[in-house]
Symmetry: C2
Subunit: 506 residues, 2 copies
């Protein structure tokens, strides 16, 4: 850097670099979406190469020595920057650290081992073949341990926290531990009570077929009604539902089963929650790091807000009942099935099972806590990969009363996350669920007659409140400050526990 | 470059650079396709920025001083390279010249003026507003004249030839002039004869509606039958039909009108011709410049081969007639409409009109020659933009017997090409038509009973011949050599003239 470079020039150069990154990320995001929704299978190899190239290029741009120098200079003169610019520099620095804190050799080794393990997993899982899968996973975990140590050193964090911070910056496992402990104490007994109570429910099940076209039309209708902007997004089909694309053009997906409309419908509303967050990010800062969504735990809070707090609740189902009947009604399904009370029972059945992604709202956190405890122990060297199935089985028995012995497929081999070494991600699901309950509680305090508005299908005040308090903040606040500003306190699991009690035992 | 760098290292570095370019072009191509087929309108601005970024990045990569040095060194030691490597270096050098032969200021100025003019054109054209359009076009033409001079100087070509060579490398207007002169002499009188003859035809027109879903199913069926590989491509809908994507994943598009199936069907087969070329490019060289399609005039030859030489011919329509009837047959359309002879009449009607894109096979070259003559004069300074409408009208009267006076919309304002300064492109359409006739003639010589094979829907030998002689050659040969190897001589307009006589007056 020349001596003449002024501070405002330094900051501008940083903005320019990250703006360039934003454009490249746009192309990467659309190509990822396309690969999952549109691409014919023969295009896979070429797409993989193109995506790897752009991902390397983005990493190079962010992690350059020049960016490091500019960041240091900008931080030393941060008093010359506005508060949003300061937050932007903080987020740039975080990205720079993520890009530079592990060696290129390790990135490459992990990427190769991860691809190999993930690819093999697709076969081994369906064959229930733990024996051949174990050494591949072992290699990935070993490299992830090295990653956690390198990152931890660069970031001044414990190894597991360094991984967690890739998804949930600013959170420490020492903060999560007591919160999860409280849930772990509450949930097992609560599940028993709910299951016992639900045996008395007289649920009327939908019958017959619900054609894909009708399910899609219903999904689009409800997306519109809750505030998804189709000028800036789409709904399509993919094998695994996700929310992708870019804030200016958010692409959500679902999958349809013609004998079960609920899974797709609730999935669509879940992804719509993610999408509304993206569509509501601060327009003036969209192309900069500070304009991005805060973290996965807040992102998941917005999807679970839409799905769990709103869509599976009675007021929403009161509003939606006639719409569901209009779009899906058929000769085989009894009239009473479409009543709000019955739709409520249909969408809130609790039944502990082996599979996380199929879990109900009450069991779900136990699936997450089980994984969180195991991955922490794997990273800290207190658990060996070889012992994984046994520990999984023990915890499943303790938390959910089910044994996964010899059932690797529905046990420790069920998830994709560990196959490419994405340890540290799982807790964000349950952080999201708890954040959602706390945020909904704050919104209900702030908005008079919120439940009545929802029952009438009027989401304008609620969306405005979320926009003002969550979406438009982007990454301006750290996560604890975002929660404090929006709800008056940092994450408190009591809101979630209260929500469960209200919903399932009131 | 260090003294130690060996020649094979230099060549490898060039390959690596252009391989990187290939990956970025992949993302750009998919994002362009997405913008035309899937993207909601609100995503337009962000997409434009992302595409501009990647296009600048690609230009930087190709046009670097380092690449220039490597190229010089590789050319000096070309005897150490294989023949494909030598051709690859030749194509790399061409791309390097294209990227470096005009100044950055001019690129930028032309891009801004071009965007402005193209954007305004969409409104001014539909308003028939020449007065306000003229100064915007004037600016673009002036910048394109400067471009042609800068490029011409760098490439050792006359200004217009330098533009032509962006699309048709290796072709000179001095070669095209006598060929077009021959067509210009032949066509006007020929059109009169054909029109007079067709008044005696008793054509049975299709009636009623042809639902989009049925047209799409028919299009896919025929695409498969003629050899489009759906493992490596798709068919979708866009406002302007095109062939995009990448060779490993070719995306073609069409548009449907429910009261006219022919336009979409022939359009689909046209784009399928482009697509089969892309799908047939040399696999081993796909990621390098020498693996690309030769030029626009050969690309268009492959689409017109599929559409004009094959699909609108009697043998193909004999094969296709029962398939059309099966997919499209309805109560309103008389049975005889679906007979091959009637489908032949339906797909080969000649009627001179104002609009190039709607023109029949016989009138089309005159639309092109008119534009070619005008754009040459614009570039050489022999025609002013202000005089464009008058010259257009005169030529339309001479060539096609129609006056476009005061009808700017259907006259000199009908095409998008000039609005962003893409002069030099138009001749490739008619070069393609003539190449197609010449290539088909060679294929018929080489394949015993080709017409009978086509009539049975057996395209295996024909596809193999095209693969061997055109597709798999990529850019290995220069265009004249490609034609010589495939057909025994360079472009000769007599094949096209013979084809027209056979098809329309035999």
């Amino acid at each position: 850097m020349t001596v003449q470079t002024s501070q405002s020039q330094v900051y501008s150069q940083l903005e320019n670099t990250f703006q360039q990154v934003y454009q490249l990320q746009h192309l990467s995001a659309i190509a990822h979406w396309d690969a999952a929704t549109m691409m014919p299978s023969g295009g896979n190899q070429a797409r993989g190469r193109a995506l790897a190239e752009i991902s390397g290029l983005i990493n190079q741009l962010i992690g350059s020595a020049q960016v490091g120098e500019w960041l240091q200079s900008a931080q030393e003169h941060s008093q010359e920057l506005s508060d949003w610019q300061q937050a932007n520099v903080r987020e740039m620095h975080r990205k720079w650290l993520n890009a530079t804190s592990i060696s290129n050799e390790l990135i490459k080794a992990k990427s190769i081992a991860g691809s190999r393990c993930e690819h093999a997993w697709r076969t081994y899982r369906s064959d229930n073949n733990w024996i051949d899968f174990q050494p591949l996973l072992q290699e990935v975990i070993q490299l992830t341990i090295e990653e956690s140590q390198q990152r931890g050193e660069a970031m001044g964090l414990k190894p597991y926290d360094a991984l967690l911070n890739l998804y949930e910056p600013g959170q420490l496992s020492s903060e999560i531990d007591p919160i999860f402990a409280k849930l772990k104490q509450f949930l097992p007994e609560f599940i028993h009570q709910v299951v016992a109570r639900q045996t008395h429910d007289s649920l009327i099940l939908p019958q017959g077929k619900f054609p894909v076209e009708q399910q899609k039309a219903l999904g689009c209708e409800l997306m519109k009604r809750v505030g998804f902007n189709f000028e800036h997004g789409r709904l399509d089909v993919s094998h695994h539902p996700f929310c992708g694309g870019v804030p200016e053009d958010v692409r959500i997906t679902t999958r349809y089963q013609e004998d079960d409309f609920s899974e797709s419908l609730m999935g669509v509303l879940h992804e719509t929650g993610h999408a509304k967050y993206e569509q509501g990010l601060p327009e003036d800062w969209l192309q900069q790091p500070v304009g991005e969504a805060r973290c996965m735990g807040i992102h998941e809070s917005q999807s679970l807000f839409q799905e769990m707090q709103i869509a599976r609740g009675k007021p929403f189902l009161q509003f939606a009942a006639p719409i569901l009947k209009k779009f899906l009604g058929n000769a085989e399904t009894p009239e009473q099935c479409w009543q709000a009370d019955n739709l409520f029972l249909l969408n809130n059945r609790v039944k502990p099972g082996f599979i996380r992604v199929n879990a109900d709202e009450v069991s779900y956190p136990l699936h997450v806590i089980l994984r969180y405890e195991i991955e922490k122990d794997l990273i800290n060297g207190q658990l060996k990969v070889a012992d994984l199935p046994e520990v999984w089985d023990q915890k499943m028995q303790t938390y959910l009363g089910l044994s996964s012995k010899d059932n690797y497929r529905d046990g420790c081999m069920q998830d994709i996350h560990w196959t490419d070494g994405s340890l540290g991600y799982f807790p964000t699901y349950t952080l999201g669920a708890m954040n959602a309950a706390q945020i909904f509680s704050a919104a209900r305090q702030a908005i008079n007659g919120l439940e009545q508005q929802i029952a009438k299908g009027d989401f304008s005040q609620l969306n405005q409140w979320q926009r003002d308090n969550i979406w438009s903040k982007g990454s301006f606040y750290r996560v604890n400050d975002l929660m404090r500003h929006a709800t008056g306190e940092t994450l408190n699991p009591d809101y979630f526990i209260n929500h469960l009690q209200q919903r399932f035992l009131s």
